[in-house]
Symmetry: D2
């Protein structure tokens, strides 16, 4: 049974996860390039500090940072050790990496982690992919991280390597759709304040008993508690990449995703200072009808 | 304080509401055209059985049935009485009716009721519109119907007459978007069962700790518990009218609703045996490219 | 055979139509509130100037202006006269007006007119609704206005009163979709100028031989000829009302309109200084993940 | 000046192109695995028959067939020869192939070809990518294939290698949007035949003078001429791959493509016997409201 793991990456997520694991008496040796938060000076020291067979959980930004850490770990770890990729890798990359590490006897488990900054106290929703033996080994770690309650309501061994991040990708795609649905409803309420005079109170009242109650709705109410007209924020919305992968998968598999794609495209549009497409529509209207347009400033 | 009300309509919703009110010691005289469930033989008898000033809650299907009952009540009630429209009327119709009844001193409160068949035990989310005095009078009834917990998390006085049903309309529009988001995610998971081998378990594991947890997700898991491949159901989905009104309002108020409209249109398409639009696209492809088409059977 | 008609409204469209009719030797008495363009000082003078049975073509802005003119005409015209509504009335209003005028023996034909400022030289595409007898009477006028070529390729008697404006409404809904399709393609080309270095030339080259060639594409090329980066225009796009009616009809008739609605919603969004919905999404992201947001300026 | 080229692939497109080239006195040696249409027995014979420097135009299905032919040509051709990829390759693959062939001094030009079965008589819209020198060399061939009229209205040198197929990809994405726009309008007209009694005639009348006139509209009218209710076709619509790439590019470049994606997803949905997503929505409605659903048959 695993009782001591390494954790690489002590940012917003990793730091909280170290704390939550320690609360459950899992010993954690954390490494981060920032000495003020790191338990050891180097990744090699982290590996050296762990009992064999070692478990190293990687929790660094997706893309190059994750790639770099796992490659380095590949050189430091030994047969029988396990790498857990807890970030947001693409599932195909998981499959490729696992195959490489397997050649040297190193195990690989990909684990989607949901819950954001709330996970420290609420626990993290976990979706993992890997072999049954590896997942079995890691259960004490998963149990420490996941929320209270039945294990199967906050954790799943979703399939072979890649399944965890595929599940997390779909989870995030759904999340885009859910957020946009609430946001559209909010805007429509706010547009008719002569009818619904208490928009904030209305969304607050949806928290119990209604069909639309959810954790995201609770957060929406929190946001309105703090800023009732959402006037302190810009309407600029980033996207993390997982929404894009979701659409790519839909396209590859001929799965219609009208809602999730609409949510993603709304984010793209929110970041444009001037939409070339809408300038083109304005230009067309001017051409055929002499319709009113606005000159660019 | 109201301690005895009339309730017209004892269908799936009304019957449960009568039961929930009685559990909270609100006396209820119910009327329904079906004698086996009705407490009194006629609407006039219901009115006669109530202490003045009377409260009559109407819980019958939207459209003609609701219109008919309220018109008949208009002739039976007296100054100071209150009609509560708990069905799914359009908010503009609420405003018109309230004005008519006000000419005879009869009050009108519109109340959106959410919660479906689960409301009997969980309580109903309530959004109402009307005057402060009328809503104050009705509070004991609302308190009996709404879920446990803080009143403002399951009940709102959203604004003047019409606000309740406008809020409920937007609630339902959001609901369409939420359902479609989960449904698209489900389909994408199900399309890649070589990656995520446990779709059912994956959605079950989203119930705690994740960003997408919600009551609708819990219901999705229940549905999968009963029918893991959803193979017992047809892909035909009705719509109740409130989603349509939501789009109409978005269009009237220049509020973009890409997600809610996509969800509504997916339902329309689900009910078509053959889509004239897609036959037109097939015809175009055949015309310009001699592309393969399928002959109608 | 009609050889002399009245024309009310001498704006951008009406003025050109008067000119085109006169080129075809149709006598036109035009009325407009602006004396510098009007042939007669009042609507009554216009009616007095026409031979009976009279034909009066109304070409004023939709809504109140059209309603006012037709009501006034109703009082001035006589049995056997015909009103042609050439503006953009809603087809249901056409049906109501026609019924009113019919009580006094006055005929009504609704006619959708397409072609914009190009109609003077190219002719106008015409779609009309009304009785066979009325349409027959008006044929010389329609023939003068429509483009050269076979009558049935630029004119249709689409059905009873209302059909003309219903057809025009759908025409405009399609137009929204077509324009947005070209605009999206333009934006994608412009986003990859390292690949397609000549965006302007590429769209120009689509004018002959390709599947996407069209009059709107020709206009797009004209716009790019004048302003190759469309940098002189703001990305603000108005909508005329007919796109909205198209969506309302789709919703009423359970016809999925994903493309036309997306085009309409893109216009709505183009006119928002700050999108309340996207501020709501930003707020949600901030709540659950501490994600980067931008403060409103 | 090129006056004799090789053409590989004599299917629907290639065969017509050979014919059109020969009409313009370009000598063509064609190869196809089917001896009955091929001018030579093998690809090696084709190469042997051409004067150096050779030009070989490849017109075979995208993917493996194209890859195979170009690889084989790489082994048969010599420095100074040029391969023209006239099929539907992905532009990134063009860039990779061109780099490989360049190592052996063989030129590569990618050319998107639009026009379908009509191209033989109308000419083909051409968009090509490659070096200025290669394109210059090929001009006689492009001029023979493109439509009558100014060269720049039917042909473009859009940029370096890849530009031709990128432009063609966007062209096809736009085409998806245009087709769906007409199709939605057709369906809405057909849904209200009590208003517009002559749907066929209405679309026919849009061919001249209107804003929506186009070649696709002409084809729509042809389709309705042959089958006025489009009742002979199934509503099953294939997609060729280029629409998918367009969405992938939009996603990669953060370009919102609501219309083109909606058109693609409508095609995906048209091919589903039963939509898992809509079964999920039906299941949810059954769970919360006891709403009517249909059992699968």
């Amino acid at each position: 049974m695993v009782s001591h793991i390494g954790l690489v990456g002590l940012g917003k997520m990793g730091n909280n996860m170290r704390e939550r694991l320690r609360r459950s008496s899992i010993e954690v040796t954390g490494f981060d390039p920032r000495p003020e938060v790191s338990d050891v000076p180097t990744l090699a020291d982290l590996v050296a500090a762990l009992p064999a067979p070692r478990v190293v959980w990687v929790m660094v930004p997706a893309g190059e940072p994750t790639r770099g850490v796992i490659q380095e770990l590949g050189g430091l770890l030994s047969e029988g050790d396990i790498v857990v990729e807890g970030g947001n890798s693409h599932y195909v990359e998981d499959q490729e990496r696992a195959a490489e590490l397997a050649q040297r006897g190193i195990g690989y488990v990909d684990c989607g982690v949901s819950g954001g900054v709330w996970g420290l106290d609420n626990g993290y929703g976990l979706m993992c992919g890997g072999s049954a033996a590896h997942v079995e080994t890691l259960l004490p770690v998963f149990d420490a991280l996941r929320p209270e309650g039945p294990r199967e309501e906050g954790f799943v061994h979703a399939g072979p390597v890649g399944a965890g991040h595929f599940a997390k990708m779909v989870h995030n795609g759904i999340e885009y759709g859910l957020m946009q649905a609430y946001a559209e409803g909010y805007e429509l309420l706010a547009a008719k304040k002569d009818v619904v005079t208490d928009v904030h109170g209305t969304m607050k009242a949806w928290q119990r008993g209604t069909v639309v109650r959810s954790w995201l709705l609770d957060l929406m109410v929190r946001a309105l508690d703090e800023d009732p007209d959402l006037s302190e924020l810009d309407d600029w919305v980033d996207d993390s990449g997982e929404g894009r992968w979701t659409i790519d998968e839909g396209v590859d598999n001929a799965v219609p995703l009208p809602v999730i794609s609409a949510a993603l495209f709304a984010r793209f549009a929110s970041r444009q200072e001037s939409s070339p497409a809408m300038r083109a529509v304005a230009a067309l209207r001017q051409q055929f009808g002499g319709h009113a347009v606005k000159k660019a400033e």
